[in-house]
């Protein structure tokens, strides 16, 4: 095996890139020290390939199509070290909410999985392993589970995660899970300049069913840059409802890559909810691989104060009779900026594919900004694709109607904001999650204490 040195670090490169290379080299020498032979190990080969691709692509700039609204220059001027493995420490994280006792929770801190497997789950229906052990015991399996590497410009950080993750969760859903599973991701650093690589692999066997909630929170003042990656693989007829909820504090930068692959007649409902963080980039790369696969994606993006939220969805229909529906609601107040880019690609042969994209934006201040771009790329005949995007302010007719009934302006506005989000909230089949998300959401809206009374 060739010594993995894809490029010599150069002073001309951003500090971040050099530090990622340093992390890579450190992991290589660590495995040598442990005298672990990586020869012929498909996982090591895959990671090396991922690192090579990442370095070839380099860090994104606003010249890249999918990064044109998000400038990482300030971020990438810094160098990063691994966030601490503080998994043994427990303690409540700020921003975590009580989803009720009916849920099973597994904890991850900075991407390091905390034992043990949560109670309340039937081991016949679900198997949970940490990736640190699994990568050592069965690297072939892990390599097989990871999605094919992509050269897409939007996939950079997923490549970096694949190259550098050291732990994470492998969740095999075998049966129909009655209890929703919460993955509580806690970000906690001891100072600035740390990076975490949380990795989650969900493998849903044919005919299985589960609700999985990834909840990102922080503990303490400092958070690492979080470069997380999750993949959902749905076997035939599998049914997954997945939530990713970003509820970290105003200092946290989060880049999350979600990869979804769906086999025949599988159904995925995916909710992306951004309520926290300073800069949140949430991408969804979904592939409807076999006929009858169906994806519903809901995005609820709340820009607040100085927050920057960039949500990028790419949904590719590979097979006939596949269906996708994307519903996004963006709200921007203060000096925040919210971006929702969605793209549907219908490949040759994906006849009778149906797709819908709907994005509505609501601007609550003069200095806030919302950019939304639905795109379509169709290579097949006989498809039904619709898209629409609108952004505006609160409807003056609705406002006047409510004022004319005696409601004060603040209450009327809050009710309208809440109503604007109703399409996404009512799509949630998990009432506990809905209630908790409503609570977190309402807390960030203007005049939240008023709104709470009207739920």
């Amino acid at each position: 095996m060739i010594a993995p040195q894809p490029h010599a670090p150069s002073a001309a490169q951003p500090a971040a890139l050099r530090s990622f290379e340093a992390q890579w080299l450190e992991r290589q020498s660590a495995s040598k020290r442990l005298d672990r032979s990586t020869a012929g190990d498909p996982l090591s080969a895959l990671r090396e390939e991922a690192m090579g691709r990442f370095l070839r692509l380099g860090l994104p700039t606003t010249r890249d199509e999918s990064w044109r609204y998000t400038n990482l220059r300030r971020l990438t001027a810094h160098s990063f070290i691994d966030a601490p493995d503080v998994a043994e420490e427990s303690g409540a994280a700020a921003g975590s909410w009580d989803l009720g006792e009916r849920l099973a929770t597994v904890h991850m801190v900075n991407g390091f999985a905390m034992p043990p497997t949560p109670r309340g789950l039937n081991s016949k229906d679900i198997v949970i392993n940490n990736l640190r052990d699994l990568s050592r015991i069965d690297p072939d399996l892990v390599a097989r589970l990871l999605p094919p590497l992509s050269d897409a410009e939007g996939a950079r950080f997923a490549l970096l995660n694949t190259a550098l993750f050291t732990d994470g969760l492998y969740i095999k859903v075998c049966g129909k899970l009655a209890t929703p599973l919460v993955i509580l991701h806690t970000a906690a650093a001891q100072g600035p300049g740390a990076i975490a690589y949380p990795r989650v692999i969900v493998d849903a066997a044919p005919g299985s069913k589960a609700t999985i909630i990834e909840h990102h929170v922080q503990r303490g003042e400092w958070t690492p840059l979080c470069n997380s990656a999750t993949q959902l693989a749905l076997g035939q007829d599998a049914e997954i409802e997945h939530y990713r909820l970003f509820a970290t504090g105003s200092g946290c930068t989060h880049i999350d890559s979600l990869d979804v692959r769906q086999q025949r007649a599988s159904r995925c409902r995916q909710f992306t909810i951004v309520l926290g963080g300073a800069l949140v980039r949430a991408s969804l790369d979904a592939h409807l691989i076999e006929p009858g696969a169906c994806l519903e994606s809901f995005s609820l993006l709340v820009g607040h104060e100085e927050r920057h939220v960039d949500c990028v969805n790419v949904v590719t229909h590979h097979a006939a009779n596949t269906r996708s529906r994307q519903t996004a609601r963006a709200i921007a107040s203060g000096a925040s900026r919210v971006i929702f880019n969605s793209k549907v690609v219908v490949e040759t042969g994906a006849v009778q594919a149906e797709s819908q994209q709907s994005c509505r934006g609501l601007l609550l201040s003069d200095s806030a900004e919302i950019d939304s771009r639905p795109q379509l790329e169709i290579h097949a005949d006989e498809v039904k694709c619709a898209h629409g995007a609108t952004t505006g302010r609160l409807d003056p007719e609705m406002l006047f109607y409510m004022l004319s009934r005696g409601l004060d302006r603040a209450t009327a506005q809050s009710l309208l904001v809440y109503a604007f989000l109703a399409d996404v909230l009512t799509g949630m089949s998990l009432s506990a999650a809905r209630a908790a998300i409503e609570d977190s959401l309402i807390a960030q809206l203007p005049d939240s204490q008023l709104l709470r009374r009207f739920r």
Partner: protein
């Protein structure tokens, strides 16, 4: 005098629509304002309710002893003025009952009363819905969401019955109603008739006045009240048309 409008003029989008309206409404009375399309009837109703993008350019309005034009829309409502909209807006996602409860509590708060008890409120609203012959599914729906024209009008009257305003201005509440719905809506309005309250009906047709008998009828045309009279004026208008009033003015 519950409502006194003196020489009121107003502009909409730069265009003078009301050109000196004078009208007095006493408690206990029902007035009908009739007139051809574009005469300013709806503008008058919206100006009285406090619509901000309608600019008052002259005149004054006192309501229950207060300077109405100085109050924002929400305070006018809390002071006891109610506008039944000609085209009630749909507000998907805001529940009918939430809105109505918020409205009632806003009014009670102004009057120094405690918030309405949840069970009492539900009982009240169910009783009024029964009177308006509305299905209970209304309780779970968004404000006017997916309602037919007739359902929207019933909902306006329902809101009026719950809020019990001192002055109800009903802007073409009869339009788009079939005869059965018209009877129900009229019954609702009549149930509110009371020596302490007044109703102003803005309408196109005399048909409504068969069911809600007015004390006075006014003909509005080109932003002015051209003629006032008792109920017989409405009947005459139906027979002879609005042109008759306009011609008789000229002559």
């Amino acid at each position: 005098m519950l409502l006194k409008i003196s020489d009121l003029s107003a502009r909409v989008a730069g265009k003078e629509i009301l050109k000196g309206i004078n009208l007095e409404v006493k408690a206990g009375e029902v007035h009908a304002i009739m007139g051809p399309n574009g005469s300013g009837k709806s503008t008058l109703a919206q100006v009285l309710a406090g619509r901000e993008d309608y600019e008052v350019t002259g005149g004054s309005v006192t309501f229950d002893g207060r300077d109405l034009l100085a109050l924002p829309a929400e305070e006018r409502a809390r002071a006891g003025l109610f506008l039944g909209f000609q085209y009630p807006v749909e507000i998907p996602g805001v529940n009918n009952v939430y809105l109505l409860k918020a409205a009632l509590n806003a009014k009670r708060k102004t009057a120094g009363e405690p918030e309405v008890d949840a069970y009492e409120f539900l009982a009240l609203i169910k009783q009024k819905m029964k009177l308006m012959q509305m299905s209970e599914t209304f309780l779970t729906r968004g404000v006017n969401e997916g309602f037919s024209g007739g359902e929207k009008k019933r909902n306006e009257v329902l809101q009026m019955l719950v809020l019990e305003p001192k002055l109800a201005i009903l802007d073409e509440t009869d339009s788009g109603l079939d005869i059965d719905a018209l009877k129900v809506v009229s019954m609702g309005v009549n149930s509110l008739r009371d020596p302490k309250r007044a109703v102003v009906l803005v309408t196109h047709y005399q048909r409504l006045l068969d069911y809600i008998v007015p004390d006075q009828v006014h003909v509005l045309s080109a932003g002015r009240i051209l003629k006032s009279g008792d109920r017989s004026l409405a009947l005459e208008l139906e027979r002879r048309g609005y042109d008759w009033v306009m011609e008789s003015q000229v002559a």
